[in-house]
Symmetry: C2
């Protein structure tokens, strides 16, 4: 086979690349499943959840104490306590009080609560009150926390422990969540070997199935692992065919560039109902990435280099998976830092600069010296990433930058 | 039963509280289990992992191209290409070149690589080179990425996708991770009802088992759910007894304050080999929290109020679980913001102020108006938390604060 000399004529910008794929997701829904409250953790909320009730549903004691009429406590102090009678019928009439535990309903007739620390039971029938309380003091009032009809959790939110707490407070035992998307993962390359096997010097362990699988798991996707394909059109085609049947999105890494063994474009074109949405993106590392539709299913072509593939996942694949799930992407964790030294980037490309963070009278970002995207340690050593936009060229020493934290 | 009037004589500071518990963890280990590489995601790395090899193990092509002797390309340009012969024996002698795909070993005799874009095969025997390359250009050299003996992943690190990629690159198929701690969870209170059941007005849904379970799951613990206990010493004692047999840490919420029905201290004291490490912490919300040892197992007493319990988990329980796992706590995500209005806090207590974040020519933190810790919505509506240290009183309008993001 001859060396192909095609290269990429055009590198599409990331935003445009995402837009082209998103157009094909319009109207598509993964559907929902109903899960137990606790299993909704980290899943995508399927529909807006509105409160059907007020919380509290009745006025409740916010502390342990005595329910009273506020007026009855006027002028009470440690030295001039006011005497109140314990209510016999459960209702509070003028001059009466009733012990009410935290969370219990405030009895009829009461409009304030004296904390247990500010009162003392002096007989079976009477208490002394040492503090004056204004109306509604120490009472959690109806609807104060959550109002009936209020939007509790927006559709698309990725459910966190705080929201699970809120839903529990409202009595929800089941939640509708978006079904997990299925992501088919294929690695290609004659040089690739499965981990755990002794390899020859001219072989390398397959990294991309592991990095892509764990990145997918992190955002609650189901991964279908199709293993490693040799650089053989039929072998790759067979795995793609199987993935298309099961998965909404297929990720193929390797063989997508312009080298001798880059067969993936041929594989894509061998399917009847296929078309490329783009091939070659203005991203560094990660330029050889592409995306195609086969029978309206999305196939991503990702570079063979592990770091490029991880960057492509972050820049291209993750936004599409969130869109597919109808999820509101969670805010990235970012910190501001100053560049410890300059980093060259190329204008017109979105560049992912991996940095270490150092604290030295302020936070500094040190770009990790790398040669090429093959440097897998550059990713695991990095504390974060600076995403340099297309219209910017280079980062200067001392420049303030925003670092997206890796975890 | 009479109203007890004991209150808390002393509120211990959080740091001291944690120290007292940690003393009892010295020398304790959860042990390890060996899991498949992919299953190590989010688990705690059990031992330092050192590289047994160099990566790359041989000099490799960092691009698709032609392996050459750098000297042979001196002076090559687009207009004055240099002609090289394709090697027949796989070795590179003077004046020779050999196509080498990305990642493949550089053949003997070569010391540089010309990118495929900068050369052209003009016959079966010859190529033209259009660019001069310095020695080692486009070659990933032995050990450049990872050196033999280098520390790859520190023990205690919580394994992320980048580290899984690194371990895959080194061929690891199994990883030793710390065994998951088992956390027993018990809610107490006559007023509590299980979610999903219709409740009376004087009842409330149990929130704490759900919030605590999901917070524990978030940090890869196994949760054992012992359900709700009525305010009955024997019923609570029975659940604690069962939890002590199975779990390393038991979390009991409710009944830990100074009200009529606060039975947990009595339950703790009813065990033979038990002692309180502290009861009452300088934390707001969350002051009634405590911790005890029963047969050297840790039992946390957490407040009944859902928000207090979540704050106690964050301030007290989580650091202890990390310590038990031997984990390096992951960095919290923090952002700097300005206070939109003042928030009162009490000196001497560590205060968790829940805030919403608003972007308006800079980031602003708006404290969520709350009355008491019962306001569960204050947690789910919050974007983050400001932790105000004990030696500080109040946050002023316009003051710069650090907000720990909730996700």
């Amino acid at each position: 086979m001859d060396v192909r000399d095609k290269g990429f004529k055009h590198y599409i910008r990331i935003d445009e690349a995402i837009k082209r794929i998103e157009e094909h997701l319009k109207g598509y829904s993964l559907g929902y499943e109903e899960v137990n409250l606790l299993d909704s953790l980290d899943r995508v909320n399927y529909e807006n959840i509105f409160s059907e009730v007020d919380i509290p549903s009745v006025n409740r004691a916010a502390m342990d104490g005595y329910s009273v009429k506020a007026d009855d406590t006027l002028g009470a102090t440690k030295h001039n306590p006011i005497l109140l009678k314990l209510s016999r019928d459960g209702k509070i009439s003028k001059g009466e009080a009733k012990y009410t535990a935290t969370g219990s309903p405030i009895p009829e007739g009461a409009d304030a609560l004296v904390m247990v620390e500010e009162a003392k039971k002096i007989s079976d029938e009477e208490i002394e009150v040492y503090q004056s309380v204004p109306p509604w003091k120490n009472i959690a009032r109806v609807g104060e926390d959550v109002k009936k009809g209020e939007l509790l959790i927006e559709r698309g939110k990725i459910i966190n422990p705080q929201q699970i707490a809120l839903l529990a407070a409202l009595g929800y035992s089941k939640i509708k969540v978006v079904k997990k998307p299925k992501i088919g993962i294929i690695s290609t390359g004659n040089e690739l070997v499965e981990v755990g096997i002794k390899k020859d010097e001219d072989q390398v362990y397959d990294v991309n199935r592991y990095s892509l699988s764990s990145l997918c798991k992190k955002i609650a996707c189901d991964v279908i692992d199709f293993g490693i394909a040799k650089d053989d059109i039929n072998e790759i085609r067979d795995k793609v065919f199987r993935s298309l049947k099961e998965a909404q999105i297929t990720l193929i890494s390797g063989g997508t560039s312009v080298g001798e063994r880059d067969l993936i474009p041929d594989v894509i074109n061998s399917f009847q109902n296929s078309k490329f949405l783009f091939h070659g993106v203005a991203l560094r590392p990660g330029a050889p990435a592409g995306a195609a539709l086969i029978d309206n299913r999305i196939v991503f072509l990702l570079p063979g280099y592990p770091v490029s593939t991880m960057v492509c996942f972050d820049a291209l694949v993750k936004p599409i998976i969130y869109k597919l799930m109808g999820a509101i992407p969670p805010k990235e964790s970012k910190v501001k830092a100053k560049m410890l030294r300059r980093a060259a980037t190329i204008g017109g490309l979105r560049t992912y600069v991996r940095v270490k963070l150092l604290e030295n009278h302020g936070l500094f970002a040190e770009p990790i010296r790398t040669f090429g995207a093959g440097i897998i340690s550059s990713m695991s050593k990095a504390d974060g990433i600076i995403i340099v936009p297309e219209d910017k060229e280079g980062l200067e020493e001392g420049e303030e930058v925003e670092v997206t934290l890796l975890r």
